[in-house]
Amino acid sequence: MSAAIAAAKKNLKVVIAERDEITGGILNQCIHNGFGLHYFKEELTGPEYAERFRDQLSRYADSIEVLTDCHVLRLNRNKKALLVSPKNVFELEAKVVVYAAGARERPFGSLMIPGDRPSGIFTAGVAQRLMNIDNRKVGRRALIVGSGDIGMIMARRLTLEGIEVVGVVERLPYPGGLLRNVIQCLKDFNIPLYLSSTVVEVKGRERLEEVIVASVDEQFRPIPNTEKSFKVDTLVLSVGLIPQVEMLNGLVSLDKRTRGIACSNTGQSSNEWIFAAGNCTAIFDLVDYVTKEGERAGEYASRYVNGERFSLGIPIVPGENVMLTFPNYYNDIDDLTLYLRCKKPMEKAVLKVGGFEKTFEDLIPSEMIVVKIPKQKLSNLDRIEVKLEEV
């Protein structure tokens, strides 16, 4: 939505293809607060944040057409998209595409957990949708796997809705989500967090009956004789998000670290008429960042349509203690807003990017670092290495 609004402001005709009944994506089911503090300078819930952008969309109704219940089946090399809606199958031709398809949840099947395959196992997003949109209770007694933000937020949601949450299991030695969620979602409700632990077996004939959890060593291998049994009928998974990129297979290159679409700071992908923004490029901590990146992609996409041509620029390479960065290329058309994640928790580290240095404290991989780097600090480079030197 923010890309569409940015493009409409530049007088482009925009079509949004949305497969859901309304725009806004996952925000619509994230009824918790914590959104918008950066962008709107006030704290909003997900539905409120989405609605603000829908209101803005409707103000640009002359330039922006919103197609809901509409799925893009295919995007072709000739800039033609094949779409399907309940009414018909049709083709659209565009001058430029901004891809903002978000991410998917890592599914249960990919975890290779031994045992039965009963009902009662949900990804956090599915459980969230059932409870917050469809008004369905998912179970009576639940265990959460993965201490990502969604996992912790769902632990609180389930508790508030009268479902007993017996614990949150995390294989890392530290929580996977924001610290504030450890406090307000787990500690506030006395929900135990089991660190360095993993699910080793699920049992149940038709409905889930029991989950076996064991401690793990540094290589995440279960340690024998540390097994604990939890009698639960519900298992909720929050084990990571994967950028959704399938539709662009063969059209753009991906980044190995983010597993998302490799982009320049203009939002441009390796295919000059395809721009991308949001969780399909890298998993962001805050929707506020996604909005900003959407605006950027929308703006540069408009400039591209108006005849301007720009290159991807020089590569941005994760160096010492850096797990991933976004963007993946830098064009000195503008300053650089750099997002990065560290590889391991560190008490203090100096971020070094070209001629730019900044000290950070209390770093953990789950909390993204965001810095704005003036282009003067990035001149005369043929690649930008991003390093975090521990002190």
Binding site: N28, I31, H32, N33, G34, L37, E43, L44, T45, P47, E48, E51, N132, I133, D134, N135, L160, E161, G162, L178, L179, R180, V182, I183, Q184, D188, D285, L286, D362, E367
Partner: protein
């Protein structure tokens, strides 16, 4: 020094402080003044904004999400949830609609955070 994480925003400042008899004598780590008031409240009476949902009659969706307009005491959350469970509202609902006023005498209202249209046949 004692440590506490401010939950008011996703920055999650780690605030270090010393308190003597509930009085704060030293604070560091808060990146904005809200952190200080959060710390004071947390030592006195911890409060949270509570987001949840209420049932909607004749709406295009069965639920409208709601929140407390300001933080309410943590100890009242279970009671608050019991109360909210009883509530049913008639569609249409608009973001910002006040669903309950001064809930449990906290001074906080319960406000809708999602618009729900009325089903056209109703």
């Amino acid at each position: 020094m004692e440590k506490i994480v401010c939950v008011l925003c996703p920055m999650g400042c780690k605030i270090k402080y010393n308190a003597v008899d509930g009085k704060i004598v030293a604070v560091e780590g808060n990146r904005c003044p809200k952190g200080l008031s959060y710390l004071e409240e947390e030592l006195k009476e911890p409060k949270r904004i509570v987001p949840t949902s209420v049932k909607v009659v004749n709406g295009e969706l069965p639920l409208a999400s709601v929140k407390t307009s300001k933080p309410i005491p943590k100890r009242l959350i279970p009671k608050f949830m019991e109360l909210v469970k009883q509530v049913q509202i008639e569609a249409p609902v608009k973001v910002g609609d006040v669903i309950m006023k001064n809930v449990l005498d906290t001074g906080a209202d319960v406000v809708a955070t999602r618009s729900v249209r009325r089903i056209s046949s109703a």
